[in-house]
């Protein structure tokens, strides 16, 4: 395989559970060194997609190549070069922090000396050196996540798969984790991650696909997606009404209007100018906010729903 051949290549990939279709024909290609994301709400099919790439769940349709190989026939060879960080923490609670790394390395058939050396580096990387001999149940959520990532790196993988790496963590723990992932990205590790946080996708992904109900609804870099499907700025208006749809006509014509349960969104180039236009019409919202458009807006535009309900 030449150096810039795609690491992951999927055409028309499907996954059904009985009569239910979780992944409905997905085409993606991930290049070496790229940070690639799957953004979508709960139930979009992100985990199902990741498991197909990780060779722990056979696709039920379409073709998939990971590292140029077919998961159906070469699962063990592919897995030998993947790092997997599953959505739920699956650390070994009967073992200490260091032992988790050592034992996991042995599952790859790596020699003891190699694993020991690598584990020492990874403890450093995960900022867990002073926790090395603790049982993992004594770690905080953020530490467990970092250890899981360190574990996924024990075999020096060509691709690191991260399924919702920061879900459930507090903001500080998320920032530490993002910092670690940035470092990996700089070192040229190919990251493939899923998330339902648009800020995470914007921070970490060079390119992403937006998923909804098992389908890809858009693809591109975060900036390109925002440019294409949203506007530069968003004006948020809250009124003292039960149903914000009642006030949509009052602001019509200024920009594209999106009605949410608790506010109106106006997609405009210049938020402050738009707000002046609104007040000039004699419309006075309870509160207003001007912000930059985000992937959240892209998702709303494409699916009519918010990412996080």
């Amino acid at each position: 395989m030449n150096d810039d051949a795609p690491l992951i290549q999927a055409v028309g990939r499907r996954k059904t559970y009985g009569a239910f279709t979780a992944v409905d024909g997905i085409d993606v290609e991930v290049a070496p060194g790229e940070s690639f994301g799957f953004l979508g709400p709960n139930g979009a099919g992100k985990t199902s997609t990741m498991r197909i790439i990780a060779c722990t769940s056979p696709a039920t349709g379409g073709t998939v190549r990971v590292l140029g190989m077919d998961p159906a026939t070469d699962a063990s060879r592919i897995k030998a070069q993947l790092g997997v960080v599953p959505q739920e923490d699956t650390l070994d609670n009967d073992l200490t922090v260091t032992e988790n790394l050592l034992v996991y390395g042995r599952y790859f058939g790596l020699p003891r000396a190699t694993v020991r050396e690598r584990a020492a580096e990874l403890l450093e990387f995960a900022q867990l050196v002073d926790k090395r001999d603790e049982l993992v149940e004594n770690l905080s959520g953020g530490m467990k996540r970092r250890l899981t990532i360190a574990r996924g790196l024990i075999n020096t993988p060509r691709i690191l798969l991260l399924d919702e790496p920061t879900t459930g963590l507090d903001p500080q723990a998320r920032h530490i984790l993002w910092d670690r992932l940035f470092r990996l990205k700089r070192e040229g590790v190919t990251l493939v991650l899923t998330t339902h946080y648009m800020d995470e996708a914007e921070q970490l992904c060079d390119r992403l696909v937006v998923m909804d109900s098992g389908r890809i609804v858009a693809e591109g870099s975060p900036r390109a997606l925002i440019r294409e499907h949203a506007s530069r700025e968003v004006l948020e208006l809250r009124f003292d009404v039960a149903d914000h749809a009642e006030r949509a006509d009052d602001v019509a014509g200024i920009g594209r209007v999106e009605v949410l349960a608790d506010r109106l969104l106006l997609y405009v180039e210049d938020g402050d100018a738009a707000l002046e236009q609104v007040t000039a019409r004699g419309v006075h919202p309870m509160s207003s906010l001007v912000r930059r458009a985000s992937l959240e807006d892209v998702f709303l535009r494409l699916t009519g729903r918010s990412l996080i309900e």
């Binding site: 395989m1 030449n2 077919d70 026939t73 063990s76 060879r77 993947l82 699956t90 009967d94 599952y107």
Partner: protein, 272 residues
């Protein structure tokens, strides 16, 4: 980098020989490391059969005197020691492959983790069963030493009782693990105890096969523990005969079927 072919290969995934062979050992190593944190439980497993040995052999033995087996009169302790050794091999193997495996499979999700590495379902099955056998080996050896020191062993062939107990362990661990893959609640594990108890009591453990009426004898002969007990008893009392090979074959087949079923079930449960 050289260019490996990207054409789909027909064969099952293969790893280079030494790695492929070592794969299940990684799981054994994991269990050994985890075992360090609960070594007391592991050590305590040795005492139960030894307590039984003295209660039955010495205590009840004094009341019973000798037992007639195939025309030979054996002191009761000599008669019952092999049965207790075989039974403890069964119990140890079943405990490891049911309780422990159930926890790892359904709650700790250990095998989900293991299967995200190059380890395959069959490596998981072989690894877990090997661990149960290693632990059992420890108990069998210690039990034999105690029984020998107490004078309940009458033949040097008794040394072969140790591998024989490993074989019993193989049969019960692999069937136990296979059955465990169908379990979905802790209550199901109690059914296992329910199946073991009558086997423990009636597999020619505490009284010879000839005690039973003809029809029942065939029922006893069908149970795996009977084959284990009779094999170990033959070796420990130096009564070697071709029938022992039948026991070996029975236990081997059971073990092989158990491993195959377990591997297939794990694949179906965790790689779907």
């Amino acid at each position: 980098m050289s260019a490996p072919t990207v054409t789909a290969r027909r064969s099952r995934p293969r790893l280079p020989f030494p790695i492929a062979f070592a794969m299940p050992l990684a799981l054994v190593e994991r269990n050994a490391r985890a075992g360090k944190h609960y070594w007391l439980t592991i050590v305590s497993g040795f005492f139960e059969p030894v307590f039984y040995l003295f209660a039955m052999g010495v205590g009840i033995g004094a009341l019973v005197g000798t037992v007639e087996v195939d025309g030979r009169a054996l002191p009761y302790a000599v008669f019952v020691a092999p049965a207790l050794m075989a039974t403890s091999a069964m119990n140890g193997a079943v405990y490891d492959s049911t309780q422990n495996v159930f926890w790892k499979l359904r709650f700790a999700k250990l095998y989900d983790t293991v299967l995200s590495t190059p380890m395959r379902p069959v490596d998981v099955a072989v690894g877990e069963i090997s661990w149960a056998l290693l632990r059992g080996l420890l108990y069998s050896t210690a039990f034999l030493a105690v029984a020998w020191a107490a004078g309940f062993v009458t033949s040097p062939w008794a040394l072969l009782a140790i591998p024989a107990c490993t074989l019993i362990g193989l049969a019960f661990a692999s069937v136990g693990m296979a059955v465990t893959t169908w379990m979905t609640s802790w209550t199901h594990l109690e059914y296992v105890q329910l199946a073991l108890l009558p086997m423990f009591l009636f597999s020619a453990t505490f009284f010879p096969l000839s005690t039973y009426p003809e029809g029942l004898q065939w029922v006893v002969r069908a149970t795996p523990l009977y084959h284990g007990v009779d094999l170990v008893r033959g070796l420990m009392t130096g009564d070697l005969h071709a029938g022992l090979l039948v026991h070996v074959a029975y236990l081997l087949v059971l073990g092989a079927v158990g491993v195959a079923v377990t591997a297939r079930r794990i694949e179906r449960l965790l790689l779907s």
